[in-house]
Amino acid sequence: MTRILLLFAALLCLAACRGDAPTASVETSPGGVVYTLLQMPEHEDVTIHIAWPTDWAYRADTNKAAPVVGTQLILAGGAEGYPAGDVGERFADLNSEGNIYVAVIDHVIGELTFERDQMDETIAIANAHLRAPTLDSMWFDRIREGTAAKMAEAQAQPANAGFDAVRWAILGEQPLRNALSLDEPGVVDNLTREDVVAWHTETFTRTPQAIVVAGGIETADAGAAIDALLRGLPDASRTVMQEAAPDYTARRILLHIPEAQTTTLSLIAPLPPTRLGGETEDLILIHALGGDDQSVLFEAVRTELRASYGFGAGMASYTRDHRILFLSGEVETAKLADAEQVVRDAYADFRQSGPSGELGPRKAPLAANFAELPDFVVDQARSELQSALDGFETGRSLRLTDELQAVTEGALMDRLSSALPQAQDFIVIAVSPDADALPGACVIRTPSAAADCP
């Protein structure tokens, strides 16, 4: 009898677990706004993520510092009915969180997370800040001045100057370069409050590109929440045009900074955009290439050449359509030329042979993390929003484990040959106090000169 009861209890538990499993659906709010709903019944928290498309960075007639300053100003400068400094304390009382940031230049993302019982007040506060931020002049000045000071310091750092140089080489005078580097003289100092007002007005509309609601919330409540959050926002006033023409022609450049105390080496080449798929394969491959102390590049540059504390690989995006692979690290100045060759050789061999060892252990850390994703509403919603922006099927973020299981060794090898650049396709940028440390390289003294390197 006891066994039967235990079995019954186990079946009940299984049924309950199934009933609580997250589900995904496309919904339309009463106000006509389409959104993705991830129902996660075991959570008391709810999170709403919204992506507004923008081409501010692509246009010649905009001040590129406006989004950087504007996102901070909305959050800190107060809104209609909410003086600066008050709402932060109220949000802390409610255990609510809100943030706005620019994601990969193409979207402004807003995130709002709260306990289900605190939804109404949280959304009312957030709506006021989206719809009628004060954009207070005093706060505008202090944020602009702070941004200018931080940018000046960052641009003086040799490693940052190297990445600025790469953007000059790839994007030249295109507005997108200045949006990514904020290096046009006076770009932050010349920003006006009117620039931020214009950016705010055209960006925050009631027609975002994607919305995800995740957590323990019913459909009717989610729809009402979306409508309340977007209430009073205007319709989109213009068509967003995100067009850029990067030039990834392979070049070897050395940025000579005599006062630099270290040397950095980076190799950069394009990757296909994530909307074309293959992202899971990329994660496995790039980790094997340069993700930790067992990686190909760490072994080659630190363990064998003994030239660096750490040399790794990663992926980044100039825009959603223009993604890059970078291999980068600080190296001993006297070993710079050797390091470049060692990195190229190690990469070429990796691209030819693929990751060593069995695939299972390489998948294991990702599998463990994917399995836990539904425990975290914010991470789950972020993943789903990015999938939505890439045009994938609704609920993809709930099926990442399946996606990972489908990856085979053959798929990795296909990805290596079809999507990853060849060893000779990289742009090489070194920043060094020694002008002769990279024989044959185009030696420049300022990042902008990289645009003229053959």
Binding site: D20, L75, F91, A92, E97, L283, G357, L366
Partner: protein, 454 residues
Amino acid sequence: MTDCFGKSVLQHCQLARQRKRPSNHCQVPSVVVGSAVLLAGLGAALIQAWQGNNSADSSIRILAADRETASVHVIFAYDSAALEAHYLEHLVWLNAVGAERAADRHSNAWTSDTAVGYWLSGAPEDLPDLLETLKGVFDPINLPSEFAGKERDIVLREYEFRMTDNPDAQAGEAMKAFLYDGNVIAVSPIGTPDEIMMLDYDAARAVHAATHVPANARLVVIGDVTERRLRRAMRDAGWPEMEPADVAPPPFELVAPETTTLRYPDPDAAPRMGWRRVVALPEPVQFDLLEAQTALLRDILDTNLPGGLAGPLRFDAAVARSFDVQVWPIDEDNIEISFSAAPDAGVSLTQLKTAFEDTLSEVANGGIPEATYSRVLNRFDGFWPDWDDDDETSRWMADYVLDRVSNLRGALSKRELQRLHRGLSLDTTNELLRQLAGDGRTAIAFIGPEESFE
């Protein structure tokens, strides 16, 4: 207090991680205490190297820890020179773990002011294997002399990576040396380039023989494994017998109250000030309770409520564009406060310092209002886990125990921790604040263009 909606950026990130569902009682990781011991660690070490590939636009999010991994940590106290211990840590890790291993075996090592630690993670079923590999840290170092000698260069690269072009790190080391003068923790394991090049392989081996012994070791295993299984795995791996080690942090005695102002002129740096003070308490307070009391005081000082710093310095007057405040115990008898801030336009770092010191004094003299204390106390739940959530509690306890062991401290039981909140009160909070505003050893650092100092 920075530009964010309700919480500082750091808090936001931490809380985002905590937005999770209640326990489903399906699979709960547990902390297992090794024979000799037990307990505690470095939370940051648990972050998987996979994080490096988490770009903002990725639809695949990686979490900091997972249930399907077991990690083994071995920690040794040391009382030799900190830099020697750091060099030794590099050599021991290379000798024991650095060889090729399966892709799901992650590993690293660290050196703090008082201890060195090594960890290795993998599948829970591979626990005997993990232990057998990590057992190598007890073995004599048998690296070729030339290779060991070149590891000095890697330590130098690490110094450059952490310290070069990093005035905050340089100031941090100098402030620490002054504040903790005469104590073991005043000496940094990072060293200087000259000191690094003087490191000696034979001396490191001698330190290894004296410190990396079972009697001085503490073992922490984190994972979904039972204590019985761990003991069997230790036996199978030939893990050395370990008696409970009588380990404690080195004693700390505050030398005479004194103030120093350090200056780091840099024409490109954004002006900022670091201000730190250590004070001795009249009576010792149990460490965990003191940690909670200081954290609550910190939360109060961070607010824009009466008794907080944000009103006088940021919202009611334009003195600090942004600031961060931290308060923590050094041991049961001494606490430290750190305040770092960027000044508003037209405010010199000297004026910022004076305004902060005056505000701290005024708040301490007036006392924190009851209303502010109660309001912030209501938000303080997140300092501890939800004790009714087994999963969350297990994760929290794992981090907590590992932290305590890594800092050579004992760990309280769950029951003892659950009672700590009773030791929080307005009176004790105000008393700590008065201590911090009184006599202490104070280090101030000015960073930025020289004209911003006065």
